[in-house]
């Protein structure tokens, strides 16, 4: 049990081993362990980010679905409103057309009646002239006595 030059030898062995072990084993292994830890941390962070993105995407989908539903409701309501308007417009148009047809019919009837009345008036005038010729035995000139005949016919109609 003595201290001698072995101490110096042991000191050299120990320090050499310390430096070489640090360079050859500790640093490369620690670097590898740190790289792995970093990779795992990044992986976990990416997984967290993925979950977050998934949740965000699901929320966005939910929001879009709600928006689409609201839009669809709006479209349906607008369509229903438009349909009601079209229906109303159609009814108004049909009513107007019907009234127009009725008015046209009435006018036609009125014109036809007028025409018939005129025709009748002329026939009555002719008949009246004939009758008057027979009664007075005198031939009346139609052009010459037209005014007289019309007044007679008018009176006859008014009387009728």
């Amino acid at each position: 049990m003595s201290i001698d030059l072995t101490l110096v030898g042991q000191f050299i062995v120990f320090v050499t081993m310390l430096l070489l072990l640090k360079k050859m084993l500790y640093v490369p292994l620690n670097d590898a362990m740190e790289a792995r830890s970093k990779k795992i941390e990044e992986g976990l962070a990416a997984a967290d980010a993925g979950l977050e993105a998934k949740a965000e995407a699901e929320a966005a989908v939910e929001a879009q679905l709600a928006e689409a539903k609201a839009k669809a409701q709006e479209i349906i309501a607008a369509a229903e409103k438009r349909a009601a308007e079209v229906k109303e417009e159609s009814m108004v148009k049909a009513r107007n057309e019907a009234e127009a047809i009725i008015d046209a019919g009435k006018e036609e009837i009125f014109a036809e009646a007028n025409r018939a009345r005129q025709s009748l008036r002329e026939e009555v005038a002719d008949i009246a002239i004939l009758a008057a010729e027979k009664i007075v035995d005198a031939e009346l000139d139609a052009k010459k006595h037209a005014k007289l005949i019309e007044s007679v016919v008018e009176k006859g109609f008014n009387a009728a």
């Binding site: 003595s2 201290i3 000191f11 310390l18 072990l21 050859m24 292994l29 590898a32 990779k39």
Partner: protein, 295 residues
């Protein structure tokens, strides 16, 4: 008489294989420092080559991906050392964890040689012509002292580098002078100045006690373990086949083997524990040196 023979045998097996660098001087006049323990140097050199060879082989197989096989075990060890350093160290210093790892692995492997039968390597060395052979280098005070002095030198270096003023004040003014020098009374102040040498002596004793306790703890435990091995072998194991053939001899031999085996396992645990204690104290001493100075 038997006890004298045994003690003589034990003393013989506690001899080192020494080589003197003063071969031309008579043995009695030689400087005891100018010699080297060949067995200690051989075993530590072998252990160092084993560790560095493993490190060289292992370096090319390190993978940053999923570790397998040996890398798992080495990573567990390095992770354990890293955790120990991280728990005890206030700041990051890139040399501390490798130092702790080297201390732990080196001491543990050196202690591991204690598992060899007590007289085995001595007999082998005798057969090969060597005068003696001590297989456990931690039994040689030179190794623990060399490691403890390395740690001590690092402690002093970091104390002087990180907080030189605080360290010098601590060296000169603690524990007595500081309070006395703060006094306004000139007599008390003078007393404080006079106590500076005493403080220096006390502080130096305190500082030197660190490497001393560090080295002697390891040396004492391992040396005592080896002596107990030799005692068990000397007292219980029989010397020749004639004694072994007798009932008492056979019982003694079996008991010797059992007790030796039990002590061997216990001593392996002691070796592991001592390696851990040396490592943790190294970290703690260096951690104290790195602690910020209190004002």
């Amino acid at each position: 008489m038997a006890a004298e023979e045994h003690s003589g045998g034990i003393a013989e097996h506690l001899q080192y294989w020494t080589y003197s660098f003063q071969q031309d001087i008579p043995v009695d006049e030689r400087n005891p420092f100018m010699q080297i323990h060949v067995d200690t140097m051989l075993v530590t050199g072998f252990v160092a080559c084993l560790i560095l060879g493993f490190a060289f082989w292992f370096k090319s197989r390190i993978q940053a991906g999923v570790p397998t096989g040996v890398q798992n075990a080495v990573e567990a060890l390095v992770g354990f050392v890293n955790d120990t350093v991280r728990d005890n160290f206030p700041v990051h210093n890139p040399i501390i964890a490798p130092l702790a790892l080297t201390v732990f692995v080196f001491i543990f492997l050196c202690n591991f040689f204690d598992i060899l039968p007590a007289y085995f390597l001595g007999h082998v060395a005798h057969a090969l012509g060597a005068p003696a052979f001590r297989p456990v280098p931690t039994n040689d005070l030179n190794l623990p002292v060399a490691m403890a002095l390395t740690v001590f030198a690092m402690v002093i270096y970091y104390e002087l580098k990180l907080k030189p003023v605080h360290f010098m004040k601590d060296l000169l003014l603690q524990p007595f002078a500081n309070l006395l020098l703060m006094s306004k009374n000139p007599v008390v102040k003078l007393l404080g100045v006079l106590l500076i040498p005493l403080n220096l002596v006390l502080k130096l004793i305190e500082e030197i006690a660190k490497p001393l306790s560090l080295s002697f703890r390891l040396f004492g435990n391992m040396f005592a373990g080896e002596v107990i091995f030799l005692l068990i072998a000397s007292l219980l194991l029989v010397d020749n086949f004639a004694d072994m053939a007798s009932v008492g001899g056979a019982i003694s031999e079996i008991m010797g083997l059992l007790v030796g085996l039990g002590w061997s396992f216990f001593h392996m645990f002691i070796g592991l524990l001592q390696a851990f204690i040396f490592m943790i104290l190294t970290v703690v001493y260096l951690s104290i040196a790195h602690q910020p100075a209190e004002h």
